[in-house]
């Protein structure tokens, strides 16, 4: 453990504010994106989507769509080989629970049912509207705590309690450090609150899209805006029953992702369509699809119970979080685990207890977004810190600096803090915002255990 702050060595190029390599092309409107790609005989794919949040599919009639002008092919669940279920984390052992195209049931309003491939995007759109679906509506559940309650409608048979099952059959991702109940009982004050974040659209300027192109030699090149070429490639290969080396994934400049392009979205269906038609197929989300059909940032509900001493020390932090996964898992278990180990934030608390549930609801499946799992924790922690400060009548700067973690302190996930400079960052912010800190707070350091 270093006892002093590390110093930066002198460098030549690293540390220089050199210009973004693509800057001129970007600002000059000359950057080419996935949607700019054109290939001879290229077809366009549009999706028919569920209008029900939870329903049995009684019949999917594609006859009128198939007869529609310009249509080359209509794809349903029956066209998918293997019947593999989609998992956002398939390549690292995530559980598959989501069909690429709905089969027996739909679980959210917007779920993909039938793909129409036509010569122009307009023809594909018009034909997709002609797909006729007969539904038998089922009771739907939208609230995370209602979904967990006894008697709630079950979404996925694989998840009987409407929640993901973590290792060793745990219903929640857990953190257990010290004895939180004892510390809460002994605390001068207990400060308890609930925090709620909203589902958010990643809103990249370039919507999700790809073009799957047959190479003519049994291989397929997929040009995509995916943030993760290799894992998406392997997922597509698995769902289509292809050896992974039959696929090549290529990305050019991507017009922003913010996590919204980390999920598998368009690549499986577009590649399947390219295989079935032998022609290049483009599948690009409209802005409307981007808004209602692509993975959102999840909504998170966080209950915090803090045990605090009158001198400002936080001695216990007990947290229960409900992560709204929406209708399917995708990467939710990853986000929930990342959320769990983030507690108790950049503070040293000796007794920490955390339960994070991934809950299934009949809402748009959520996925990754910038700050996955961490953003909602930081939001809840930092609003809570102000409430704790108010409860004990302490200045919020003082409360944070007194509790800020230092190198060598124990974190919630049972590892020591290292490489950290939280205290110096708060001190520098006080200076920048002309906030006067008293001498004892100014003398704190991330590299020393005691003030002064």
């Amino acid at each position: 453990m270093a006892s002093e702050a590390p110093k930066a060595e002198a460098l030549n190029v690293v540390g220089q504010p050199v210009k973004l390599r693509d800057l001129k092309k970007h600002v000059g409107g000359q950057t080419s994106y996935c949607d700019d790609l054109r290939f001879p005989r290229m077809l366009h794919l549009k999706m028919h989507r569920s209008v029900q949040p939870h329903a049995k599919l009684l019949a999917v009639d594609t006859a009128a769509a198939a007869r529609s002008e310009g249509v080359v092919r209509v794809l349903t669940h029956a066209d998918l080989p293997g019947g593999e279920l989609w998992s956002g984390l398939a390549t690292v052992g995530g559980a598959g629970d989501e069909p690429v195209l709905a089969s027996d049931k739909v679980r959210w309003k917007g779920e993909a049912i039938a793909a129409v491939v036509a010569r122009t995007p307009e023809q594909a759109e018009a034909a997709a509207a002609k797909v006729k679906v007969r539904y038998e509506p089922l009771p739907a559940v939208f609230d995370v705590e209602e979904a967990l309650a006894a008697g709630a409608p079950n979404l996925i048979a694989h998840w009987p309690g409407n929640h993901y099952i973590f290792g060793d059959d745990h219903a929640a991702a857990q953190i257990r450090l010290g004895d939180v109940e004892k510390a809460l009982a002994e605390a001068d004050r207990v400060v308890e609150n609930v925090y709620q974040t909203s589902p958010i659209e990643q809103a990249p300027l370039e919507t999700i899209g790809c073009v799957a192109v047959p190479d003519g030699d049994g291989r397929y090149t997929v040009h995509t805006g995916s943030q993760s070429l290799s894992s998406t490639l392997k997922s597509v290969a698995a769902y289509l029953g292809l050896p992974a080396n039959r696929l090549r994934f290529v990305s050019g400049s991507v017009g922003g992702g913010f996590g919204g392009k980390a999920d598998l979205a368009v690549e499986v269906t577009a590649t399947l369509a390219a295989i079935k038609t032998g022609r290049p197929v483009k599948y690009r989300y409209t802005r409307e699809e981007e808004m209602f059909a692509s993975s959102t940032r999840a909504a998170w509900r966080v209950y915090i119970k803090d045990g605090v001493m009158n001198d400002g020390r936080i001695v216990a932090r007990k947290v229960t979080t409900y992560h709204d996964s929406g209708a399917y898992l995708r990467m939710s278990n990853y986000g929930a685990m990342k959320h769990s180990t983030h507690w108790p934030g950049p503070y040293t608390v000796a007794n920490v207890w955390v339960d994070v549930y991934c809950v299934f609801t009949n809402r748009t499946p959520s996925g990754a977004m910038r700050g996955f799992g961490i953003m909602p924790a930081s939001f809840a922690i930092e609003v809570q810190m102000d409430r704790v400060a108010k409860a004990i009548g302490m200045d919020p700067w003082r409360l944070r600096l007194l509790n800020a973690y230092r190198n060598g302190d124990m974190r919630g996930h049972h590892r020591a803090v290292k490489d950290a400079a939280m205290i110096e960052t708060i001190q520098a912010t006080a200076k920048l915002s002309e906030q006067n800190l008293t001498g004892d707070l100014q003398s704190l350091s991330s590299w020393r255990q005691k003030a002064g």
Binding site: A8, N12, V13, V14, G15, Q16, V18, L20, R21, P53, V92, F142, D168, A173, Q174, L177, Y195, Q196, S198, P199, I200, E201, S226, S228, L229, R248, S251, G256, G257, R287, E288, F292, A299, K338, S340, T341, P346, N362, T364, R370, G371, I374, M375, S378, F379, I381, E382, V383, D386, R400, H413, R415, D419, A420, M422, E424, T425, A428, T429, S433
Partner: protein, 337 residues
């Protein structure tokens, strides 16, 4: 009815890399016969400046000018594996892989130069301007491009290198959560000032000041771009954005940017930021990831500022005018009671 001002702050930490590690990225570096050094990988450029940052890291390690480095990325046939652009991992993972590959290529280049100059490779240095010379003897110098060409055509040597960075994979204990989930933590603290119109419930962010500790900056302008962009995203999350205005209900879902409201230029305050540099043990030249954390401090700081202005306890986002007005009504009821 009045316009009330308040200030709020928030301090955050943010982990670098995919949760629990085990996420490798690889890079290859080779010298062409045309005087370039090509970095080949399959990471994705999202506009954040991946190619620029990795060119800087390669140029630094190779000891050649930035202009001599070409970054060829985003192709799974030609580029070696990358575990994806996300989790604030690319500068850290790909950066370390590029350093490893560039070190190997640099050694090869110095070995060839040593043969040409009839000196020991240990006595050679690069000047960062495209030349290799004997330490302390600037006259005994060769252009790097000439050395690369000689390597290929005279000495039969490929000036190239391979690099991989694989952070060890950790497991999270299902009972206690014990794990080694990240490579390092970056830090930030933000102070904002807001003005709240108690008649309309509208909130305006007047100023936003932040300090970031991100190990070491590879490119200060790109870091600033992330911070200013993240402040903008944070204002959106804190005040406007939702795909479910009456969550958890699914009604009234937006379908375009007319009814999914994101902040425009008029909603942006001046963003001030400062960077503290404490090089991280694991990062390439000490860098930590800054890509994702940049909205995280602004969001709670804005909510804290609103609570400070109104003396209320709002704990949800976005804090729309409706949320503000309901909080004021509740406070009026509580004060009256």
């Amino acid at each position: 009815m009045a316009k009330l001002r308040g200030t709020g702050m928030a301090a955050v930490n943010y982990p670098t890399g995919m949760h629990l590690g085990g996420d490798p990225t690889m890079a290859l570096v080779h010298a062409t016969s045309s005087g370039s050094f090509v970095v080949t990988l399959s990471s994705v450029e999202l506009g954040q400046g991946l190619k620029t940052v990795l060119a800087q890291i390669a140029a630094e390690t190779l000891g050649v000018p930035l202009e001599a480095v070409v970054v060829d990325t985003g192709d799974t046939d030609t580029g070696p594996h990358c575990s994806g652009t996300g989790a604030s991992r690319t500068t850290h993972r790909a950066g370390n892989a590029v350093i490893a590959a560039a070190k190997e290529a640099r050694q090869e280049m110095l070995d060839v130069a040593a043969e040409m100059l009839e000196v020991s490779a240990d006595d050679l240095v690069t000047d960062g301007k495209g030349n290799i010379h004997v330490k302390g003897v600037v006259e005994k110098s060769l252009p790097a491009a000439e050395v690369a060409a000689a390597g290929q055509f005279v000495y039969g040597k490929s000036i190239s290198g391979r690099g991989i960075f694989l952070p060890p994979a950790s497991k999270q204990d299902p009972e206690t959560g014990e794990s080694a989930p990240y490579s390092t933590q970056a830090h930030a603290c933000t102070v904002v000032e807001v003005e709240v119109d108690t008649e309309t419930g509208a909130v305006r962010v007047l100023s936003l000041k932040s300090v970031y500790e991100i190990g070491r900056q590879v490119n200060p302008e790109l870091v600033k771009g992330q911070i200013v962009g993240g402040a903008w995203m944070g204002i959106g999350h804190a005040l406007y954005e939702t795909t479910a205005p009456y969550y958890p209900a699914i009604d009234h879902a937006p379908y375009d940017f007319l009814n999914y409201v994101i902040p425009g230029a008029a909603e942006m305050p001046e963003v001030q930021c400062e960077i503290l540099e404490y090089p991280s043990e694991t990062g390439p030249y000490g860098a930590k990831g800054v890509g994702e954390m940049v909205a995280n401090a602004p969001i709670p700081a804005i909510v804290n500022a609103i609570n400070n202005a109104l003396d209320v306890c709002i704990g949800e986002i976005p804090v729309t005018p409706e949320v503000v007005l309901r909080a004021l009504e509740e406070k009026a009821r509580a004060d009256g009671a």
